[in-house]
């Protein structure tokens, strides 16, 4: 058995989890393509493709193979995947090192891990103008360093 054991796909363990313990978390697998609008309450993990809009009360995690085209609106957004469009968070946005973003981010609080790529514009609403100005000024050069500079 140890010698000839066939390699099983990793979904073996993932499936019961998705069905039982994570009742509350919506999970869109990597093969699922959605065109349109996803809305409601709850947390979402997406590995697949979305062409359209997320409008969620809850957390959205855009995992690594995911491709999003459109607008993502949620309380907390964390990104490992690809987004072309805009991210609007009521609480915070986190871009992990595999994140690839093209577009706008609008959030009161932002963190970016080294290696993430971000081409676009950030607005930090929900902060007083005095507070947001230095934050923007600090943030902007940091992106140009870490992000791949595809813009002229």
């Amino acid at each position: 058995m140890p010698l000839f054991g066939k390699k099983k796909p990793e979904n073996k363990s993932a499936r019961p989890q998705a069905a039982v313990s994570q009742k509350e978390t919506t999970y869109f697998g990597k093969n699922l393509k959605i065109k349109g609008r996803v809305s409601g309450n709850g947390n979402i993990i997406i590995l697949g493709a979305l062409d359209g809009e997320f409008n969620l009360k809850g957390r959205v995690k855009i995992a690594e193979p995911a491709k999003i085209k459109g607008e993502v609106k949620a309380d907390v957004i964390s990104v490992n995947g690809n987004v072309r469009g805009s991210l609007v968070a009521r609480e915070r946005v986190h871009l992990d090192q595999t994140a690839r973003i093209e577009g706008q981010i609008n959030t009161p609080s932002l963190s970016i891990t080294e290696g993430a790529s971000f081409d676009g514009e950030i607005t930090m609403r929900g902060r007083s103008p005095q507070a947001s100005r230095p934050a923007d000024a600090d943030a902007a050069p940091a992106f140009q360093n870490t992000a791949k500079s595809t813009s002229k």
């Binding site: 499936r15 009742k23 699922l32 349109g36 609008r37 709850g42």
Partner: protein, 136 residues
């Protein structure tokens, strides 16, 4: 339902989440939320007891515990549980409708191609209030 099939991952749409639009791909889908639009999967779809689907569905196997309004195509099997409700036509290779289920629509069977024609696995549907039984 638990056995492995072509789609290797199962997506879950939970209770308070709604999709307006098209859903497709080689994936299994478990719906406890709401979908309006169209669904085309090469995996299976399971509409749970809180799930509501207002869409045409095409999938390998379809299991309905909640509500479906739309035409469904199941390349393998359609199963409607006692709590399930299907308003719309169905096309399936095999159907399994439990007592208490609601099915309002027409049923078409997909004939198994290449199988021994002698064994008539034709499932008999005796829906009480649908006297349409076309048998040429």
């Amino acid at each position: 339902m638990v056995k492995d099939n072509t789609a290797d991952s199962t997506s879950l749409l939970s209770k308070n989440v709604k999709i307006d639009g098209e859903v497709q791909g080689p994936e299994n889908l478990h719906v406890e939320g709401y979908i309006k639009g169209s669904i085309k999967l090469s995996g299976d779809i399971f509409v749970g007891s809180t799930g509501i689907v207002e869409a045409d569905i095409e999938a390998k196997s379809i299991v309905i515990q909640g509500e479906v309004a739309g035409n469904v195509v199941a390349h393998k099997q359609l199963e409607i549980h006692p709590s399930g409700k299907l308003i719309g036509d169905c096309t399936a290779a095999s159907i399994d409708i439990k007592e208490g289920a609601v099915f309002d629509g027409r049923s078409n069977m997909i004939k198994p191609a290449g199988l021994s024609a002698g064994s008539s696995t034709a499932t008999k549907v005796s829906a009480p209030q649908s006297p349409k039984q076309h048998q040429p």
